[in-house]
Structure formats: C-alpha cells, structure tokens
C-alpha cells in the first residue's frame, strides 16, 4: 500500500512540475489575450489565473499531442463567459443600443480615454482607442477578433476554442470588424 502511495505521489509531483513549466511558458501570452478580452489589468490577471487553475484541475484530459495554448484558449473562453455571468455589471452593452435614463432614451459614445498610470504600459493613444473600440463589441465578436488578429489562429482553431461552427466564426469576425471599422474610422480608412 505504501509503495502504491509513493508511486502515486511521485506521478503527482512530476505532473505538477510539468504544469508549472507550462504556466511559466504560456502565462504572458495568456495574459495578453485576457487583457484584450477584459480591457483591464485586474480582470485580465484574474482570468489568466482562473484559466490555469481550471486547466490544472482537468490536466488529465489534455491530449498531449495538441498544442497546450489552444486547449488553454478553450478554457479561457469558458472562464471569460463564466466571469461575465458572475459579474453582470461588467457585461458589455452594444453602443447602438439606446439606454433608458430619467430624461428619456440616450445613446452612448466612446469615451476619450486618456492613459492612466496603471495603464502606462498601454499608454499609446492608438492602443487605448483600439482597446476601447474592442470593448464596445459583444464579447463573442471580441473573442473572435482577438483570436484571429492578435493570436493569428485559423478559423478552425477559433471554432474549437469558442465551441462553435466555422460559419459562426466567419460571421462573428465579419460583424466584429464592421463594428471596429465604424469605431476607428479615422484610423482605418484605407
């Protein structure tokens, strides 16, 4: 019995060591994606951490012949959706959708984002504007755009990460980029 426990213990330690190495190797890339999804540093770190914890919990189900980051993206997409559900206050509303106020219906406009000290790393005005435009999109469009244009995933990989069909990816990207083009007219004309 002791022998079995000792073998199990060794296996567990080796698996943990392998996973720690994956964390060190992929956490920056994962954080970058998380940042583009959530739009702020705190949520991005929470999302990254939660995604790795969930990945570790189900590490036994990871098929080693596939790239780890693709599997992680799938988990990140799920964690992100869960995060939005848990905190409806951060749910993104379409800019085209009018909001009800005491004085009647009103429409939203993109804030002129000045970089804050916390965002010093992303202080470039253009970066802030692009990120701001990304945040105005429904999250499923945003995820598709981030995976395609920042991570350079193929439609098949995006479909796998978002658990939808390739046709849905195609349509989300088309509509997402259309929204971005409207928001970034000044920068994206030709």
């Amino acid at each position: 019995m002791e022998l079995i426990e000792s073998i199990t213990d060794t296996c567990r330690k080796e698996e943990r060591q392998a996973f720690d190495e994956l964390v060190h190797r992929h956490h920056k890339q994962a954080y970058n994606i998380a940042y583009r999804m959530t739009g702020n540093h705190t949520d991005a770190e929470d999302l990254t951490q939660e995604a790795f914890i969930r990945a570790f919990r189900f590490f036994g189900q990871y098929r080693r012949e596939l790239p780890f980051e693709n599997w992680l993206y799938r988990i990140m997409s799920n964690v992100f959706v869960d995060m939005l559900r848990r905190r409806p206050k951060v749910q993104i509303r379409s800019f085209d959708q009018p909001i009800q106020t005491e004085d009647g219906e009103a429409t939203m406009e993109i804030a002129d984002l000045a970089p804050t000290p916390e965002e010093s790393v992303l202080s470039n005005e253009l970066d802030a504007r692009i990120q701001s435009a990304l945040m105005t999109m429904p999250e499923e469009f945003r995820l598709a755009v981030v995976y395609a244009d920042i991570e350079g995933l193929s439609y098949e990989e995006i479909a796998d990460a978002m658990r939808c069909s390739i046709g849905t990816v195609r349509s989300r990207l088309h509509r997402g980029r259309k929204i971005l083009r409207e928001r970034l007219k000044t920068y994206a004309s030709g």
């Binding site: 567990r12 698996e15 943990r16 996973f19 720690d20 964390v23 060190h24 956490h27 920056k28 954080y31 970058n32 940042y35 583009r36 540093h41 991005a44 770190e45 990254t48 951490q49 790795f52 914890i53 570790f56 919990r57 189900f58 590490f59 036994g60 189900q61 790393v121 992303l122 470039n124 253009l126 970066d127 692009i130 990120q131 990304l134 755009v145 981030v146 395609a148 244009d149 920042i150 193929s154 439609y155 390739i166 195609r170 349509s171 990207l173 088309h174 980029r177 971005l180 083009r181 970034l184 920068y187 994206a188 004309s189 030709g190």
Partner: protein
C-alpha cells in the same frame, strides 16, 4: 454575386479562409468594382490595426502566484467524482430508493449473464476460411440473420475485388 453579399466575405477573404472558387469570384468582382475595393481596404486596415496592438505585460510575479495558487487545487479524478457522488447522492437516498436501485442493478447483471462466455466460445471456434492476407476487421456480424456463425469482414480486398472475410462457426 452582388456587392452586399460579397462584402460579407471580405473578412474571410483577407484571412485566406475561403474556398478557391469564392476567392476567384471575389477577385474577378474587385477588378471592376472600386467601391468594393475600398471596402476591402478598410477591412484590411482594421485587421492591421488590431494586429499591431502592443503586447500587454502582466505583473512580474503572475506566474509565481498562479503556481502558488495551484497548491490547494486537486486534479480532477474519476475516483474523487464517484466519492463525491456517493456522499452527495447515494447516502441521502432513502432505504426504499436504495433497495430499488440495487434491484435494478441486479436485473441488469442477471440479463447480461453468460454473454462473455458466448463471445469467448465463438472467438475460439475453428476458422473455416481465411483470405490471402488479413488486416483489421471492419465488421463482425452473424453470417445470416438466423445463423449463429460469425462473419468477420476485413478492410483489404481479395483477387475478385471482394472484401476478405472469415466465417467462424458456432461452437455448439
């Protein structure tokens, strides 16, 4: 295809995710349509803008914090799931429900009795016919609907271009 329908494909076009036929169709249309060329340039510019976003950097100690947070996390295992199920469900069952569940399980075992012996007996039966070379079986069926002889069909084909097969007679 009209401009509206084509413009919905521009994203996939610049990502190289269209079929050859669609690509050619778009290329031909673009040659004679300056409005669509402008539209395509705009989509391309958006993709370029998003792609040039700088890489956001996490806190220096993020990976260390993540690894530390894993200390209290137990990897998922079937045994643990069953243990949780046992604690969460079965222990809360009333004695009657438990008796009904056990009776149902008993019936399944009783119905399936002897199946493994039958399978072993048939598999050990002498082989009466074999093809010239064998690969993995693709189908194992009864030879005729009312027969107890097994027919094993293989992926490769014989001289008459028919799939190779074995007939294994019933042992009794």
């Amino acid at each position: 295809m009209n401009c509206h329908r084509l413009s919905s494909l521009f994203s996939a076009y610049i990502d190289g995710e269209l079929t050859g036929v669609e690509m050619i169709e778009i290329r031909n249309h673009l040659e004679g349509c300056p409005a669509c060329r402008d539209e395509l340039d705009n989509v391309r510019a958006v993709k370029r803008l998003v792609g040039r976003l700088r890489t956001a950097q996490p806190s220096r100690d993020l990976s260390t914090r993540i690894c530390a947070s894993l200390d209290g996390v137990a990897p998922y295992s079937f045994l643990r799931t069953w243990a949780a199920l046992w604690q969460g469900t079965f222990r809360k069952l009333s004695p009657t429900a438990m008796a009904v569940s056990l009776a149902a399980l008993g019936m399944v075992v009783y119905t399936a009795r002897g199946i493994d012996e039958q399978i072993t007996a048939r598999a050990n039966a002498p082989i009466v016919a074999a093809g010239p070379s064998l690969t993995m079986p693709v189908a194992i069926t009864f030879n005729q609907p009312d027969s107890r002889n097994l027919r094993v069909v293989f992926a490769n084909r014989g001289a008459n271009n028919q799939p190779n097969r074995w007939i294994i007679p019933a042992s009794d």
